[in-house]
């Protein structure tokens, strides 16, 4: 197989669209182009899937002769370096430019002076890369559709921010292109190039508003991701100089064979993946990324960026199984899972809760990859799929709610169901999908739990047992806020959610429920072959019978509320005031205080920011994770060198 024209299309088309959008002044035309091209991307995704299935659904390596493209890529990489250096000097963050200059020079040197085995394929197609393409394409495409409507509301609500929508949509499309390139590449040099592209795109997106906070956060994201890029470049350099190969699968094969040559590259690439996936101690950049408009944070948190780290860890998983590297990765992942889920309890800002929960769930996926067994990857892949959909839904919904409600604080969402019913229902579905039995995330978490018991990983068993308890707390209390009745406000809020936002939200919600129902099928038809490619054999972690029972329960869980709602609808009840020791005033909103005056009743959830807040736990968590990282890196690298 020499090539499939669809692949250059998938990678290059978003870049072309992005550049075109930047040049077009008319907003309506821009929107039409954005809709058409995101639909085209989704369509191309499916064609790719079916074309590949028609080819026999076997792993394929393609594009062997690419000297010209390699040169173009090198030039582009230099261009990116110049851009980063320029921006670093402009904003007086001089040292960050080093993190771009050094890896670029290393890649340049590898490309030009290190002897390499010629003619390796540059593109690799298998179940995992196609799955990633589907996630990036479908979720990413929908986010762009949503973004077209959202940005109107955003600039209406944030009139202080300069309108740079052309630039914004250009970056969103660039991002998708870079992600496609990243997940499809087989050559480590290509992977590195696309890696840098995603780092820089996210940096520019986070800095969209150009407010001091945004600039600060964007540079934090930049240096952490570039640091990851540096690790990646060193890893590649180590591997190339020792073996002369730049093939990712070569690296995995060498790693699985247990040869010492692979140890350092694998551990460095894994550390790079930790930065991308915002694991401790590199978590702060993702939390800071919230200052950007919602579509970009949705894109960063759900479909792209953070999933890039997970993707590369899944690729490396067979090489990490049973090694010190694997132990380090699973320890850091598990620790991040529990500590960030505790920190999420203390947040009342909706987007912050989402950010912490993203990091926490990524932690679980990272831990699954670190354990590197067939069962854990099974769980990890499902976590990734369901997390992408639920989180994208939630981010878009919180963004739309913020535009209408002018707040994204969970406390202000008290009774959202009666203020903005549609958005509240979508939010409810999204949250249910994140943790409630028997939706996808919970099943995946369950199998991760079982897999950690099977692999005898006691630490992980504890992390998951306690972490899932803390996870339920912050989600449940949020759901409770949405449905709580009665502080019905005098002020009315208008739902300014545009139709395209609604379309995207509905598709997400439908997709989520559909995937939950198709769980057993998905496992058998797609995920098991994926694992067979990776490990040579695969079976369901949870027996198919259990999966079918789960589907049955999902149907019951969906049906019971509907039935009992209909049953209760015509129920005759007398309304009464809520109990307030007899000092109610008028309706349920006021009571009489100790001065005899009416006082507004205000109910709040528990947060305990002083005890388990970000300020309290973040630094100790980072220090702890850093210690694990440094000590274990010394052990791993020292073990090879000595």
């Amino acid at each position: 197989m020499t090539g499939l024209p669809l692949i250059p299309f998938l990678i290059l088309f978003p870049f072309c669209v992005g550049a075109t959008l930047f040049c077009i002044q008319n907003m309506e035309v821009r929107k039409v182009i954005a809709y058409v091209s995101s639909s085209l991307i989704i369509l191309a995704d499916f064609i790719l899937l079916f074309a590949w299935l028609a080819m026999g659904a076997r792993p394929v390596t393609m594009y062997f002769e690419t000297a010209f493209v390699d040169r173009v890529m090198l030039a582009a990489e230099l261009g990116l370096m110049v851009l980063v250096v320029f921006l670093c000097f402009k904003y007086r963050k001089y040292w960050i430019s080093l993190l771009s200059i050094i890896p670029t020079c290393m890649i340049l040197w590898i490309e030009l002076y290190v002897p390499k085995a010629e003619g390796g394929g540059k593109i690799y197609l298998d179940h995992l890369s196609i799955l990633m393409c589907l996630i990036v394409g479908i979720i990413g495409g929908l986010i762009i559709v949503y973004g077209a409507g959202y940005m109107d509301g955003y600039h209406q609500h944030r009139s202080d921010v300069p309108d740079r929508r052309r630039y914004f949509f250009m970056l969103l499309f660039f991002f998708l292109g870079a992600m496609f390139g990243f997940v499809l590449s087989e050559s480590l040099l290509w992977i590195d190039f696309f890696w840098e592209c995603t780092s820089i795109c996210s940096f520019l997106l986070i800095g969209y508003t150009r407010e001091p906070e945004a600039i600060n956060n964007s540079f934090r994201a930049l240096w952490m991701n570039l640091f990851g890029g540096l690790c990646l470049a060193i890893g590649i350099w180590q591997f190339v100089t020792h073996t002369g190969s730049v093939s990712l699968h070569e690296l995995i094969a060498v790693g699985v064979a247990g040869r010492a040559v692979a140890v350092i590259p694998v551990v460095l690439i894994a550390v790079a993946a930790l930065t991308k996936s915002a694991q401790l101690p590199f978590s702060t950049w993702l939390i800071g990324a919230m200052v950007a408009p919602t579509p970009s944070s949705a894109l960063l948190h759900s479909a792209t960026m953070v999933k890039a780290g997970i993707y590369i860890l899944f690729r490396l998983a067979p090489a990490m199984q049973g090694t010190l590297t694997g132990m380090m990765i699973s320890l850091i992942g598990g620790f991040t899972f529990i500590i960030t889920s505790i920190m999420a309890i203390a947040q009342s800002d909706g987007k912050k809760v989402l950010a912490f929960s993203t990091i926490s769930n990524l932690g679980l996926m990272v831990a699954c990859a670190g354990m590197g067994r067939m069962e854990t990857i099974w769980a990890g892949v499902f976590l990734m799929i369901f997390h992408a959909i639920s989180k994208s839904l939630l981010f878009q919904d919180v963004g739309a709610t913020e535009n209408s409600l002018h707040s994204r604080d969970i406390e202000d969402m008290h009774g959202l169901l009666y203020i903005l019913p549609k958005l509240a229902i979508f939010m409810f579905i999204g949250i249910a999908g994140m943790f409630l039995a028997p939706f996808g995330m919970l099943i995946a978490k369950w199998s991760a739990f079982k897999a950690s018991v099977d692999s005898g990983n006691v630490m992980m068993v504890f992390f998951i047992a306690f972490g899932s308890a803390t996870t339920s707390l912050y989600w449940t209390k949020w759901m409770g806020k949405l449905i709580s009745q009665s502080h019905i406000r005098e002020k009315k809020f208008e739902d300014i959610t545009k139709r395209n936002e609604m379309i995207s939200l509905s598709i997400h919600a439908a997709l989520m429920i559909l995937l939950c129902l198709l769980f057993p099928l998905l496992s058998r038809v797609y995920v098991n072959p994926l694992l067979t490619e990776m490990f040579g054999a695969a079976h369901d972690v949870l027996p198919q019978s259990v999966l079918y029972v789960l589907v049955l329960i999902i149907i019951i869980v969906l049906a019971v509320p509907v039935i009992s709602y209909n049953y209760v609808k015509n129920y005759r009840t007398n309304r009464k005031l809520s109990y307030m020791n007899g000092i109610n005033e008028g309706d349920n909103r006021f009571f009489i205080d100790s001065f005899g005056d009416p006082k507004r009743l205000w109910l709040s959830n528990y947060y305990f920011p002083g005890r388990i807040g970000q300020r309290k736990l973040m630094v100790p968590g980072q220090l702890f994770a850093m210690t694990i990282l440094i000590v274990m890196m010394i052990m791993i690298i020292g073990g090879v060198v000595a």
């Binding site: 079982k450 308890a469 339920s472 759901m479 009992s564 009840t573 809520s578």
Partner: protein, 288 residues
Amino acid sequence: MNMMMRVAAYIVLAPIVGGLLQGIDRKISARMQRRVGPPLLQPFYDVIKLLKKQAITVSTSQTFFLLTYLIMMVLTGAMFYGGTDILMCFFVMSTAATFLYFASVVTSSPYATIGSNRELIQMMTYEPAVLLACVGFYLVEGTFNVEEIAISDKLDLALMPGFFIAFVFILTIKMRKSPFDLSTSHHMHQEIVKGITTEMGAQNLALFQISEWYENVFLMGVVGLYVVNSSPLSVIAALILIAAVYFLEILIDNTSARMKWESMLKITWIVTLLSAGVNLLALMLIHI
């Protein structure tokens, strides 16, 4: 067929057994406090009366949430006595508990909200011990399947005493007994009035009560599972163990005062880590 019989028996008998257990509970508590106490069947009289009363609620959707809670709770027990996966039973139970939380918080009543916030903390507190208990069964028996656990030859309790202690400990929370009755109190005129059930009246309170009965019978079943094995005698042993545990809960209830949630969380998690955790480590060592 056998499985269907067991499920049917649970659905029909659980409320009766649960109600009787509560009647005995009240009677023994009364004797401990040197009172005569209500008749044994008082819980049934109460519920029947509640069902007959005119429905009065703060929020109309409360009935809907409580009904869902009840059905989920019945489903949990049915799955358990039907002999399916024990982890799945507990997952459905936690979904049920979430609906109870909704039923309370939907009213936006101050006391109900305090109670339900505390209920959430209680859920967080007991969940690790529950999950670890399931892991214990899995390590001893090699399966999460309740039926296979019940018919094996092993005496689980002998191999997992730590898990059992942790489970009995959280049972106090689950059964809303003092010192961990934070989310609801037995009597009015306390700081949280009736907590999570403050705004539940008439049929709604009856629904809550019946769900509690189902829940208790399910939880007692889990206690029994620690000793039930292939020997028929083990069923009698299980019943004795259940009676002993139930009596212990009543005794604790009557001899201790309500704790603050911080202490509850700390103590429970420490007990979970020390007894279930150490037991887990030991089992893992044997396992490997």
